[in-house]
């Protein structure tokens, strides 16, 4: 249905969430073939890092309504910079890496989206925040640390 008007941009909002891996694979395959066929861009929203790694060219990581890091998939996944991205990568078990004996969780939980967090939205859960005054009034700006790789963290200022 979504393709009935020959779009140039397809927004896929969690298209694979709640699907089994085999079906998920089918969908990914389908999306990718469609992309080639129609030569369109895909904006994919997902929480599955694996899917991103498999599909995306570029990635933006969001935390509490803000992009905290963005760049090419390689940049972000191979070289995560923001504490949240790093934490995320570290808390996910990776298949085929049995040497990973223990996961590193991000402590605490995502705050109520209605609650106002001042300063860096992640500072409450950030393992380093005490070292720097991240809880100030202003939201840290997005900094381009290498070409195309942006991060919103005071540590990189």
């Amino acid at each position: 249905m979504a393709l009935s008007c020959n779009p140039t941009l397809l927004i896929a909002d969690e298209p694979t969430t709640a699907l089994d891996v085999t079906i998920q694979a089918q969908i990914i395959e389908l999306l990718m073939s469609l992309q080639q066929k129609y030569n369109m861009a895909i904006l994919m929203i997902t929480h599955n890092l694996g899917v991103i790694a498999e599909m995306a060219d570029e990635v933006a990581v969001m935390y509490l309504g803000r992009i905290v890091e963005s760049g090419t998939v390689k940049q972000v996944l191979d070289n995560p910079l923001h504490p949240y991205t790093i934490g995320l990568m570290r808390s996910v078990p990776r298949m085929g890496a049995p040497d990973q004996k223990r996961l590193t969780p991000i402590l605490g939980s995502v705050p109520d989206p209605l609650a106002k967090v001042e300063g860096c939205a992640f500072h409450l859960r950030c393992p380093v925040y005490k070292q720097k005054g991240c809880s100030g009034k202003d939201v840290p700006p997005l900094v381009e640390v290498e070409p195309g790789h942006f991060v919103r963290c005071l540590l990189y200022h």
Partner: protein, 394 residues
């Protein structure tokens, strides 16, 4: 301030290191971290419900009106200036009196004395207030004796007059104060709903929960029963059943039988709702968890299912009150329900079922206003409760 662009990898390493250290942090820090998480107050489901309910302005107003109605009904004998037996035949069909609050600049509530007469042509009663003769309204006056709550003998009334008459809502043909009659009527009209709902609840809750929880043949039998009862249109069935009442029964017995009849039909809705609720609950993991913890059926029904449906029961009861009140007044109106000397809003309305009442004595329709008001209030309150009752949305 600037770590420099080149050093970003070092920063990332630093963050990683901190993560590694964090995993070795002692529990107290973890605890502290968790404390910072969003944790609502120690809120029970009831408190949550109340908080949500409070936010709904109309529902609160409805609730206050309902509460007020019941308070007035409870203290009716005290609030009403007259008893049911008091007839002031001199003042039959007296229109509602105007109350004046100030006399000579002083707060002194009073009414005017009335000159009574009859219109020579239409033979209608006429009442001419005499502004020169003020009758002060007194509070906590001695009046006709009554028994508060049917127990405590008393003579004091909230307000009254020492001579003449005080009739806020006018009088009926026998010169009985409508204000007092409406209050007395509320005692029956409002309780008939309560008792009826309570009985419906009893039947509906037992059958509904049993049918939902046990399923199988129990469910089947109950469902068929409900189907059959529901395949009768309510008013005709009520009519047929109340027509069957031996009318020489004592008023009290009639009153209770009517509530039983009302609830005989009312319970199906409740049972259905509860069954659905229980069916859903039965599949909830916490029921499974309790069962796996070794809980017996009884434990599950009484510790989990019934409390879980409690808010629903309250909502459903509130929402079925209007139909009970309406049913009572409709049946009484048709002459099939309660009869004088029992005084309910329906009975009062039945007596107002006259063209001449509407044309000449419209204040006799006031009980209808109270029926409507109470239904409105119950509906508003029930709606608010329903919105507030869902425990899963905060």
């Amino acid at each position: 301030m600037m770590s420099g662009m080149k050093h970003y990898k070092e920063t990332a390493d630093y963050i990683n290191k901190m993560y590694n250290r964090q995993s070795q942090l002692d529990e107290s820090l973890a605890d502290q971290m968790r404390e910072s998480e969003k944790i609502a107050d120690a809120t029970s489901q009831w408190r949550l419900m109340w908080r949500k309910f409070k936010r709904n302005r109309i529902a609160v107003v409805g609730g206050i009106v309902v509460l007020l109605f019941y308070l007035v009904a409870l203290f009716g004998d005290f609030i009403a200036p007259y008893t049911l037996e008091q007839r002031m035949t001199r003042y039959s069909y007296l229109p509602p009196q105007r109350v004046y609050f100030f006399a000579g600049g002083r707060f002194q509530p009073h009414v005017y004395a009335l000159e009574t007469g009859r219109d020579p042509i239409t033979l209608q009663r006429t009442y001419v207030p005499n502004p020169d003769k003020r009758i002060p309204i007194r509070f906590f006056v001695e009046g006709a004796p009554y028994k508060l709550f049917g127990l405590i003998p008393a003579r004091r009334h909230l307000f009254g007059v020492e001579e003449g008459i005080i009739s806020l809502f006018g009088t009926d043909g026998q010169g009985r104060d409508m204000f007092s009659r409406i209050i007395k009527g509320s005692q029956i009209s409002l309780t008939i709903g309560l008792v009826g709902v309570a009985l419906s609840l009893l039947i509906g809750a037992v059958l509904g929960v049993a049918s939902g929880y046990y399923g199988g043949w129990v469910d089947n039998v109950v469902q068929r029963l409900i189907e059959i009862v529901r395949s009768f249109p309510p008013i005709p069935l009520w009519m047929a059943l109340t027509a069957a009442l031996p009318q020489h029964w004592s008023p009290l017995l009639i009153y209770f039988t009517i509530t039983v009849i009302l609830s005989l039909i009312g319970w199906t809705w409740l049972a259905r709702q509860l069954r659905g609720k229980v069916l859903a609950l039965r599949e909830e993991d916490f029921i499974m968890a309790a069962r796996l913890a070794g809980a017996s059926d009884r434990w599950i029904i009484f510790k989990h299912l019934i409390p879980a449906t409690f808010s629903h029961i309250i909502v459903i009861s509130t929402l079925s009150m209007p139909s009970m009140i309406l049913a009572e007044s409709s049946l009484s109106f048709l002459g099939l329900g309660l009869r004088p000397p029992l005084t309910s809003w329906g009975v009062l309305l039945q007596q107002a079922q006259n063209t001449q009442v509407l044309l000449l004595y419209p204040w006799l329709m006031l009980p209808g206003v109270f029926v409507a008001l109470s239904i409105l209030a119950f509906n508003f309150m029930g709606d608010g409760l329903r919105d507030a009752a869902d425990p899963y949305t905060v």
